[in-house]
Symmetry: C2
Subunit: 208 residues, 2 copies
DNA sequence: CAAATAAAACCGACCATTCGGTATGTTTAT
DNA sequence: ATAAACATACCGAATGGTCGGTTTTATTTG
């Protein structure tokens, strides 16, 4: 059942759960080892350091939970685009909820912004990844806004960049506020409906 | 020149600078002591623990750098309101730039979101303060939006709450993105001009 | 097939270092 | 002389990491 590959993944998952709750310094080797149910020897058989497991955890988190595949979104209309965006964001969030393989249902408060900031400070390559992703996101938003303007879907005095940034920043800001306030119960649902409401409102204002 | 009160303040300032750069766990007593130029004995003469100095630092930071006095903003027009908002935000940021009493000019990268998250996790009362402030902010934005609608300053299909949140969240999101990307050189100027641009664009769109 | 061997997986006592904090001073101002 | 202001050697606990070993699994060999 549990060969070497599984054990490695098991350690990565357990570590990820811990890093979602506390920052790098706060998570101790003792905790990681206890959480995995293994020993220090086992851990250091698979990883050379706490830093290394953190780095691998973050790489996976970026690929599965942050990096967006904008090419897969609809570029027919702005409305379709941001609907796809919301869907994708929710799907990503959901994929991590299912990661808790163990039986504990405790609603532990997570803060992935914390995690991201920590990773950016420690790992220069990670920072670059994130900034690249941000830049790409802006590019695609500007693209769909341009299309929507040309097709007549929206009529506005705002520049493409202003509109694009308004969508992006409002999404980021909402996410941060929710993480700060909500004890993560129906955080996801709330995020979805709030974002929908705000972006719909903005969209309708741009249409008129 | 340096009586007891000054020494205390000196320790608070030095600690604050450190907490702006690293989280609570990462900042060590050794660093605080070295930064102040004093000794451990001196530190513990004024403070009972690392937690205590952190708590006091955060209290001061909240009062001087976060808490907004909305009552002092103009409620004549939405435009005036958000102009006052920007002015106030910049003034708060500037007040911390001048806090570096020592001669080192090094542009160290700060991340006050990091600091805030840390404080929220450690200090329940601080979390409450922040959430209260957020709620109050929303209240005042809704108020001025309502006024602007009534006076005919803006015409839109969006609800007061949607508009208010759009302003708030876009500001938050911009702040976070800037902190992530910029090496803090002209961060302040960039924040100001970007926020001005986005909010002006949004405002003009709402004017109809 | 089973016995022998090799290799991978895993364990836990141990290590040096650093942590926040204390105890016992010495200096300095009143 | 007294007390506040500082300094420093020191403390136990916790830290990330190591190392010699045992157990388990896989491979080879008779």
């Amino acid at each position: 059942m549990s060969d070497a590959r599984d054990t490695r993944e098991h350690i990565l998952n357990a570590s990820f759960m811990l890093f979602l709750q506390k920052n790098f310094k706060e998570v101790t080797m003792k905790e990681i080892v206890e959480r995995t149910g293994l020993s220090k020897g086992a851990f250091y058989h698979y990883f050379s350091s706490k830093e290394q497991v953190f780095e691998e955890v973050m790489d996976h988190f970026f690929a599965a939970g942050i990096k967006q595949n904008f090419e897969s979104y609809s570029f027919e209309t702005l409305k379709e685009f941001y609907q796809d965006y919301i869907k994708d964001a929710i799907a990503k969030m959901r994929s991590f909820k299912n990661l808790r393989t163990d039986n504990n249902e405790e609603t532990f408060s997570t803060n992935h912004y914390f995690l991201i900031f920590d990773a950016m400070k420690m790992l220069p390559s990670y920072k670059k990844k994130l900034l690249d992703n941000n830049q790409e996101e802006l590019k695609y938003w500007k693209k769909i806004v341009h299309i929507a303007k040309k097709s007549g879907e929206i009529k506005t005095t705002m520049t493409d960049e202003q509109i694009a940034k308004l969508f992006i920043y409002s999404g980021d800001g909402l996410g941060m506020q929710l993480i700060m306030s909500d004890p993560s119960a129906q955080k996801m649902e709330k995020f979805k409906s709030e974002l929908q409401s705000i972006w719909d409102g903005l969209y309708n204002a741009l249409k008129g």
